[in-house]
Amino acid sequence: MELAYTRDDEEFRTRLRSWLAAVLPTLPPRPDPLDWPARRAYDMGWQRRLYDAGYAGLHWPQAAGGRGATPVQHLIFLEETEAAGAPYVGAGFVGLLHAGPTIAAEGGPAQRARWLPPILRGEEVWCQGFSEPEAGSDLASLRTRAVRSGDSYVVTGTKIWTSHAEVADWCELLVRTDPEAPRHRGLTWLALPMDAPGVTVRPLRTLAGSQEFAEVFLDEVRVPVGNRVGAENDGWRVTMVTLSFERGTAFAGEVVACRRTLRQLARRAQRDGRWEDPALRRRLGRLNAEFTALWRLVQWNVSEAAHALRHGGSGVPGAGGSVFKLRYSHARQELYETAAAVLGPGSLDLAEEWTRERLSSLSYTIAAGTSQIQHNIVAERVLGLPRGR
């Protein structure tokens, strides 16, 4: 049980903090959230600065062009960038956190050379084409078909919940290549160029009113066979390898942000006279305990991941992440419910960021595996309870 950081890690933190202090004031103003091209430019500009300063692909293996940093350094990076108010990974998310690592782990040399450097340098944006209208919790039931035709696959289907589709260069796509095979078999991983004929992107409006996501319609889109990563019909394994390439750092930055948000909420309650309500105060106090614990849980998971990596593993299994995600999703929703209690009638005002975030927080028990599915995962994979039928 050592929470103090090593001298190396502290030096890493100090260098990073100095660099952030120097670079953040030089950034251009944040773009309007509805201006996709401006957002892409902003996010890629930030990625380029990270690249130039040696922070790009921090947690990627060095063989893939990354820095091979430990999970602890990755955590420090997330903590410090969040605390300093640095830009989020934004449009670089899928490339840096999923498609890139997938290609690094499963791609051939040419594929790695083609796709990885532009991700690290902030030159190409990736999006993710996994979910479908009929395949949400049950990803293995996806229906988008890919039929081999000469040197190409011809792909037809619909993908949903795709972020940054409007400005992406590439889409990591999971398609069904063998409709006869059992559900998890017969899937294949393809890199789809978003400018291919037959690709249509339609913004998808959420209940929060935002258009963070899109639907991607694929109408006989030709994808070269050379864009396939892994073997044909082996896409499920290829994808899952990377989905569990998770080192306890998921949502780490968000927890740091939530703790700051909670302090702001307390001050808001004080300003509005709501601090006089002991029930509300105690609710805020309990949230303080909750997010204190969540931060420690992140550190615990990172420590476990670091240990596993040192011993040849790939990081925490996804199931450990499920425990964290279940608790964090609930805590985040409770944070914004408490904010609504502080605001009272003001909680109906979309001009309040609290209100918009309350709406967004509703997705946390649904997206990336509903809380129901996460409970199943924990029960069966961590606790070893017999499989449900």
Partner: protein, 378 residues
Amino acid sequence: MDFRLTRDQEALRRGMRDLLAARFGREELRAAVDGADGAEGADRVAGAAGADRAAGTDRSNAGEGADRAGERSVPGGRLWRELGAAGLFALRAPERSGGVGSGLPEAVLVFEEAGRALLPGPLVATELAGSTGLVPGAAEGTVPVTALAGARAGDCALVEHLASAGAVLLLEEGRPARVLDPAAPAAVPMRSADPLTPLHRVRAPLPGPDRAPYRSADGSADGAVDGGEGAAPDGGVLLLEGALLAAAQQLGSARRTLELAVGYAREREQFGRPIGSFQAVQHLCAGMLVRSETARSVVYAAAVTADEAEIRAAKLLADTAAVDNARDCLQVYGGTGFTWEADVHLHLKRAWLRAEQWCAAAGSEERLASALLRPAGR
């Protein structure tokens, strides 16, 4: 004692459901949302570099999109006049005053249907004004009436549909109800979370008689009140009746989101079978039914007894049922429910709003706690 609905009550409810299905079905609902949304959307992109931005929308008018678009359902518009003709706003007015002469139970059934259909507009205040005769034209649905209800000094009160209202009821406990000119309250527009309910906020102290009320309901200004029966009704009484009608709407919403969830759980397949066959989903739906049935029993009872504590209990339970059922419906729908196109969010946002209106939880809980210390009747 026979708590069940009478045949007439069943018929009334059925009539209102049919009327709303014909005149404000899902298509009209979504048209109203899109209309409101167009105006609001234009506001949202103001300042953005988006190619399709609509310029020049005055932010202070943004909330009124719901009134400008979706023509049929605009308060005071065609649908409102039809609803007025059907008696929605004068159910409880005496027949001699052109009303229906029914009681609170009938009003509750009708408002439950309105909540189920997500009918927009300041329905509760207009019914109070129409049934008491406080505002001419309210009963007919031609003059929408909104309310400033139960705000205390220092409070920040919500007023809905202020821009389209012809009058504002000012309801305070222990004082006669008053009718204000909509221009009277110093109101600041909000960007309403509910796309169909434009909102303003008014900070108490509320406008007094010196601030040019539209008409004071105690008869001291122009116009006779309530068929000439003299004294205006007590603000506290109307406040409670309003809370009950709002509870009825919450109940209708809670029952509707239950229907939606059950329907979706039956149809939607994942892992090769309907999600409704998974215990986790079954239990969410069962919990929704428990909430709505429990809320229903106390809402209906409060309509019969008109007892203050029971009305407050009804509002508390109906608020919880509406909000939590909408939340659970969203969870059953999963990603589909998170889209703007699904109706779930409309129920959730309206439920959140109504929970803040017409007696919010904390005050009612305090009253209901105090009631425990009084000697119990039998």
